[in-house]
C-alpha cells in the first residue's frame, strides 16, 4: 500500500512554527505549536509527509471539543504568593468528586457519549448536555437545530442506543432590547433569541421528544457570544449499556448521505459576517432523517444486531470510526459511503460533517437482518469497511490511500501543554453605590425583569407533552402559566408499561453574576440550585446525578483560566458535599469576540449544572402554586446577608456584597427531609428561593395558585446581625425553599426534619390567604409589602411578548 498522497505541496515537515500556524489558519485547524511539533516528530519518525486528511483527522481528534485539552493539561496556578501545579484539572475535580461519592447506581461515567445511571431494576437513563455556541452565533436557527440534532445523536449513540425521552434547553443571550452598537456581521440579540428558540423547537418537535426543562439568562455580555446549551435524556435497558467492538466487525454507516457540509474551505463566497466565519461552520439539519435513524436503530438494538454504535458529530466519519476503532484498528473504503453529490474526494467524504449519520459495529452474520430493519424505516445503510486488529486507522478511496495512522498516536499522542493561571479574590466584599428604592418598587421591577419574567412565549412553542409522560409540566398553576422548578417525566411510552409510575426529573442551576465575584461559590450555588429545584417537585436529592457544562472565554488569559480552575474546584467540593456524582460534562472555550470598537468582549465565566434524579412515584410529585387559603408556610434554610451578585443589586445598580456561600452539609439534610415529607403527602407546594429571594418566590407561588400570603420577616431563620427588611426580602442565600404545608400535617412535617430541623433551619413564616395579596410584615412589625398578585402577574407576563412582539 502506498502512503497517502501528501495533498498539494503541504510540506509540513519542513515548515517553521510560524508557517504551520499560517497553514492552520488558512485551513481552520486549531493546532497549537506543541501539537504541530508532535505531528512533525511522529511523521519524521516514519519518514513521510502527512496527508491533508491525516492532519485534519488529527486536528479533529485533538480538538478542544473532543479531548478537553484545557481541562486535562497541566496548569500552574498562582494565588497571591502561592503557586501550585494541577496536573489534570478534570481528573482532580470532576472525576475525583465522582470517585469519592462512589454511587453504585452510576453505570457509565465519562467513557461513553453520555453518562448513564440506573433507573429502577431494568432500565437506565442516559443524560448528555452540550453547547453549540459558535454556530448559533453565526446562524441562530441552523446552529441551534444542529446542536439539538447532535446531542440527540449522542444519546442515540450511548450504550447500544438510548431512546430520547426529554430535551432540555438553556440559553444565555444579550438583552432583546439592546440598543447599542454591534460589530459588522453580528446578529442582534433578539434575532439570536428568535432563531435559536425556533431551531430548538423545530428539531425537538419533529423528533417527537418533549422539550420540558430549561431557562434563559439575559446579559448584554453575551450579545456577541450567545450560549446555547442543549441536553437530551434517553432511556435504555440496563442490558444495553455495555458496548464493544471486535476485529472483523463491519463498519456500517447509517442515516443521511454525505455531502460537503462542514468542510473547511468548501466552495463558498466569503461571508460578510466577521472576517473568517466560514459557512461550513453551520449546517442545516433535517430532522426527519434523524427520526428514521432513531426508529431503525432502536429496532435493530432490540434484535441484538450490532455490538457498538456512535454518532458522527464533529469530524464526521473520522471521529466516529476513530473512536470506535481506537482500541483495535479499522480499515475504511470511502467509495462505499452514500453521497449527496457525486464529485466528493476521499478526504471530503472522510471529514464531512453532514448531519444525521451514525456508525455501527456489526458482526457480519447480522448484516442482512440489519439492512432489512433499516430499509423498512426508509433509512440507508452502507458497509464502509471493517474493524481490524492492526491498531491502525487505514482509510482508502477507490484504492488510493487517504489516511494511514497509528491509533495510539491518534488518541494518545496529544502533547500536554502547561498553561499559566492566576486567581485573586475580590478586594472587598463591601457593597457600594446604587440608588435606594423601596421594597414595593423593587419587587415590581424584579418580577418584570428579563431574568425573572415569564418564559411562556418560549415554552408554548415546544411540544412539552409528546410521549404523554410530562406529569409535572414547565408551566404550572391554576391557569397553566406559573414558573415550575423542574419537570417530572413518567416515561411510559418508552417503557411500554403504564402500571409503573417511576419517573425522573431534570433541573438546572446557572448564575453568572455570582461567578463575577467568585466562581468557586458560583459552582456551589449552581449545584445547590439544581438540587433544590429537583427537590421541590418531589425528586430524590440523594439520588441526583450531575452534568457540568463550562462556557468560558480564552484560557490563554491566566485570569480566565484561574477563574475556571476555581469553578472546577467548586464543582469538586459541591459533588462531594452534596454527595452527587458528575456523570458527564463538556466545555466550550474561547467564547469572546471583538466588539464594534475592536475591543475583546469575553463572556462572563458561565457554568451550567444539569441534574437528574428519580421520582419514586410520579403520582406523589407536587407543583409550586399555592393550593389553598389558611395553609402554613415554612421556609427551610437560613437567610444571610448575601446580596453579592443578586438581582437586588442589579436593580439598585449596587456593586460588591457577599456572594451567596452554600453549605452543602446543611443543605442536603434539608432537601432530604423535605423529600421525605413530600413522599408522605404532607406538602402542598414548594418553590425554591433564587433570583429576587423570598419576595419573588412568594409572589410566584401566589399568582400561580391565585392565593395570597402573609409573611413575617421576623420569623425567618437568619443571621441575627441583619436589621434590614430589604436584605431579608431579597437576599439570595442558597438552599432555601418556601413550603406550603397541609394544616393537619404540620407536626408530622416538622418530625421529618427531626434533629436536622435546627441545621436545616426550618421555620414557620406565615400562611396563605384567600385574599390574593402578598403581604409582608417587617422586623419592626410594620408592613413592608402589600401587593396585589394580579398586578405582579401582569408585569411578570408582559415583558417578553412586549420586547419580542
Amino acid at each position: 500500500m502506498t502512503a497517502p498522497a501528501a495533498a498539494g505541496a503541504l510540506n509540513v515537515l519542513a515548515k517553521s512554527p510560524k508557517e504551520l500556524r499560517a497553514l492552520g489558519d488558512a485551513r481552520h485547524l486549531s493546532l497549537n505549536d506543541a501539537e504541530w511539533a508532535a505531528i512533525q516528530t511522529h511523521f519524521k519518525s516514519i519518514k513521510r509527509e502527512p496527508s491533508l486528511a491525516e492532519i485534519e483527522t488529527i486536528a479533529q481528534t485533538w480538538s478542544e471539543h473532543c479531548k478537553h485539552k484545557t481541562f486535562t493539561s497541566p496548569i500552574r496556578l498562582t494565588e497571591g504568593k502561592k503557586t501550585r501545579t494541577i496536573k489534570n484539572l478534570f481528573e482532580e475535580t470532576i472525576v475525583a468528586a465522582t470517585a469519592a461519592v462512589k454511587k453504585p447506581w452510576c453505570l457509565s461515567v465519562f467513557e461513553d457519549n453520555a453518562g448513564i445511571v440506573a433507573f429502577g431494576k431494568k432500565w437506565a437513563l442516559a443524560f448528555k448536555a452540550e453547547t453549540h455556541n459558535h454556530p448559533s452565533a453565526l446562524e441562530p436557527y441552523g446552529g441551534a437545530e444542529t446542536g439539538v440534532g447532535g446531542v440527540i445523536r449522542d444519546v442515540l449513540g450511548c450504550g447500544l442506543g438510548a431512546k430520547p425521552v426529554l430535551n432540555t434547553d438553556v440559553f444565555c443571550f444579550g438583552t432583546p432590547g439592546y440598543a447599542g452598537a454591534l460589530p459588522e456581521g453580528a446578529h442582534h440579540p433578539s434575532r439570536t433569541l428568535r432563531g435559536v428558540v425556533a431551531g430548538v423547537r423545530d428539531y425537538g418537535n419533529r423528533m417527537g421528544i418533549p422539550t420540558a426543562a430549561g431557562g434563559i439568562w439575559f446579559d448584554d455580555d453575551y450579545r456577541l457570544n450567545p450560549l446555547v446549551f442543549v441536553g437530551t435524556v434517553g432511556l435504555i435497558p440496563q442490558s444495553a449499556v455495555k458496548k464493544e467492538v471486535k476485529p472483523g466487525d463491519l463498519i456500517v454507516a447509517v442515516g443521511g448521505r454525505t455531502g460537503r457540509d462542514g468542510l473547511h474551505g468548501a466552495t463558498f463566497s466569503s461571508a460578510n459576517l466577521g472576517a473568517d466565519a466560514p459557512s461550513s461552520a453551520v449546517q442545516i439539519g433535517h430532522a426527519i432523517n434523524e427520526k428514521r435513524v432513531l426508529d431503525a436503530l432502536l429496532r435493530a438494538r432490540d434484535k441484538g444486531l450490532y455490538r457498538s454504535v456512535t454518532d458522527c458529530g464533529a469530524g464526521g466519519f473520522s471521529s466516529a470510526v476513530g473512536e470506535l476503532g481506537a482500541k483495535c484498528g479499522a480499515d475504511v473504503r470511502l467509495e462505499a459511503a452514500p453521497l449527496k453529490v457525486s464529485d466528493l474526494t476521499g478526504w471530503e467524504i472522510w471529514l464531512s460533517e453532514s448531519q444525521e449519520r451514525m456508525v455501527l459495529a456489526v458482526p457480519p452474520k447480522n448484516l442482512k437482518a440489519l439492512e432489512a430493519v433499516f430499509s423498512a424505516e426508509g433509512c440507508e445503510t452502507a458497509v464502509i469497511g471493517e474493524f481490524t486488529n492492526t491498531g491502525r486507522l487505514v482509510v482508502t478511496h477507490k484504492g488510493e490511500s487517504v489516511v494511514d495512522l497509528d491509533m495510539k498516536f491518534l488518541h494518545k499522542g496529544l502533547p500536554r501543554v502547561e498553561r499559566e493561571a492566576t486567581w485573586s479574590a475580590p478586594a472587598t466584599s463591601k457593597a457600594s453605590g446604587g440608588v435606594e428604592k423601596k421594597a414595593p418598587l423593587v419587587l415590581r421591577e424584579m418580577i418584570a425583569h428579563l431574568n425573572v419574567c415569564s418564559r411562556e412565549w418560549v415554552i408554548r412553542q415546544y411540544d412539552h407533552e409528546v410521549q404523554g409522560g410530562t406529569v409535572i409540566k414547565p408551566l404550572q398553576g391554576v391557569r397553566h402559566d406559573g414558573p415550575g422548578d423542574a419537570c417530572v417525566i413518567w416515561p411510559h411510552a418508552a417503557t411500554g408499561d403504564m402500571t409503573d409510575f417511576t419517573g425522573f426529573s431534570v433541573a438546572h442551576g446557572l448564575n453568572p453574576d455570582y461567578g463575577r465575584l467568585d466562581p468557586y461559590y458560583m459552582a456551589l450555588a449552581c449545584v445547590d440550585e439544581a438540587l433544590r429545584n429537583l427537590t421541590c417537585v418531589g425528586a430524590d436529592p440523594s439520588r441526583a446525578a450531575l452534568l457540568d457544562n463550562f462556557c468560558w472565554a480564552s484560557p490563554a488569559d491566566p485570569r480566565q483560566l484561574g477563574a475556571l480552575v476555581r469553578a472546577a474546584e467548586g464543582c469538586r467540593d459541591a459533588g462531594k458535599g452534596y454527595s452527587a456524582p458528575f456523570i458527564s460534562g463538556k466545555d466550550s472555550l474561547y467564547n469572546q469576540s471583538k466588539d464594534e470598537k475592536g475591543k475583546e468582549l469575553p463572556i462572563p465565566g458561565t457554568l451550567l449544572i444539569s441534574a437528574i434524579a428519580p421520582v419514586p412515584d410520579a403520582r406523589k410529585s407536587i407543583t409550586m402554586d399555592f393550593k389553598g387559603p389558611g395553609n402554613p408556610l415554612y421556609v427551610i434554610g437560613r437567610t444571610n446577608d448575601e446580596l453579592g451578585g443578586s438581582l437586588y443589586h442589579r436593580i439598585l445598580g449596587r456593586v460588591g456584597g457577599e456572594v451567596p456561600k452554600a453549605n452543602p452539609a446543611c443543605a442536603i439534610e434539608g432537601f432530604k427531609s423535605l423529600h421525605a415529607a413530600i413522599l408522605k403527602g404532607l406538602v402542598l407546594s414548594a418553590h425554591d428561593l433564587s433570583e429576587g429571594g423570598l419576595a419573588v418566590c412568594a409572589a410566584e407561588m401566589g399568582f400561580s395558585g391565585e392565593f395570597g400570603a402573609r409573611l413575617d420577616l421576623d420569623e425567618l431563620a437568619r443571621d441575627p446581625r441583619i436589621y434590614s427588611n430589604e436584605t431579608l426580602l431579597f437576599s439570595e442565600s442558597p438552599s432555601r425553599i418556601l413550603v406550603e404545608v397541609k394544616p393537619e400535617s404540620e407536626s408530622a412535617f416538622l418530625r421529618h426534619f427531626g434533629k436536622g430541623a435546627k441545621a436545616a433551619a426550618v421555620r414557620r413564616v406565615g400562611q396563605t390567604t384567600a385574599n390574593p395579596i402578598l403581604k409582608v410584615v417587617g422586623l419592626d412589625g410594620a408592613t413592608v409589602l402589600e401587593e396585589p398578585l394580579r398586578e405582579l402577574k401582569e408585569a411578570w407576563q408582559r415583558t417578553l411578548p412586549a420586547v419580542l412582539k
Binding site: 453565526l138 446562524e139 436557527y141 441552523g142 446578529h187 442582534h188 434575532r191 455531502g259 460537503r260 457540509d261 468548501a266 466552495t267 463558498f268 461571508a271 460578510n272 459576517l273 466565519a277 459557512s279 461550513s280 453551520v282 449546517q283 442545516i284 439539519g285 433535517h286 430532522a287 426527519i288 449527496k340 453532514s354 448531519q355 412582539k805
Partner: protein, 166 residues
C-alpha cells in the same frame, strides 16, 4: 454509462396561499421588517418557489405541483417564467430567499424523494425558496439591509430583492 432519455431542464413552480386566506407567516415577516425601520410597508404574503432540476417534463412538473406541492383548498400555483423585474415606482417588492448552493436544503430533499415516490423521474436536485411579496413603499438598499437582519442570513442565504408585479 446510462443514456438519458429526457433532456435535463429546470422548472420553477411558485406555490402561494390563495388571497382570501390570512397569511400568518406573512404577518410575522411584516412585523419583523417594520421593526427594522421599514415603516411604509403595508402587507407581506409568503410563497414558496421550488426549483426542480432534472430529466422531468413540464407536464410531470405540473402533476407534482398539483398532487404534492399545492393544497387544492388553500393554495394556488403557477410556473415562474424568468423575466426581468418590472419597475413599479418602488411600491411592490419581491424578496426571494434561497439557501446557498453549498448548504443542505431539507425541504428540497424531501420534495425530491417524494417526486420519486410518485413514480416520476427522480430530479437531480430540488431547491426551495421562501418568497416574500411586499406591498408598500421602500428603498431597495435599505430594504436589502432590513432583509439581511431579519429574513435572510447572508452566511447561508442568497437573498434577491427586486421590484415586482403587484
Amino acid at each position: 454509462m446510462s443514456v438519458r432519455a429526457m433532456p435535463i431542464a429546470t422548472h420553477l413552480i411558485e406555490v402561494r396561499l390563495r388571497p382570501e386566506f390570512a397569511d400568518a407567516e406573512g404577518a410575522a415577516a411584516l412585523a419583523l421588517l417594520l421593526a427594522q425601520s421599514q415603516p411604509s410597508l403595508r402587507d407581506a404574503r409568503v410563497s414558496r418557489v421550488y426549483r426542480i432540476n432534472g430529466p422531468i417534463t413540464a407536464n410531470q412538473v405540473q402533476q407534482v405541483a398539483k398532487d404534492l406541492l399545492c393544497d387544492p383548498v388553500t393554495q394556488e400555483h403557477r410556473v415562474v417564467a424568468p423575466t426581468s423585474p418590472p419597475l413599479n415606482g418602488m411600491n411592490f417588492w419581491r424578496v426571494e430567499v434561497w439557501l446557498k448552493p453549498s448548504v443542505t436544503d431539507p425541504v428540497g430533499e424531501t420534495v425530491r424523494d417524494a417526486i420519486a415516490d410518485m413514480g416520476l423521474p427522480r430530479p437531480d436536485s430540488v431547491r426551495c425558496a421562501l418568497v416574500y411579496r411586499l406591498s408598500g413603499r421602500a428603498n431597495k438598499a435599505s430594504l436589502e439591509k432590513a432583509v439581511a437582519r431579519t429574513l435572510a442570513n447572508p452566511l447561508i442565504h442568497d437573498a434577491v430583492v427586486s421590484e415586482a408585479h403587484p
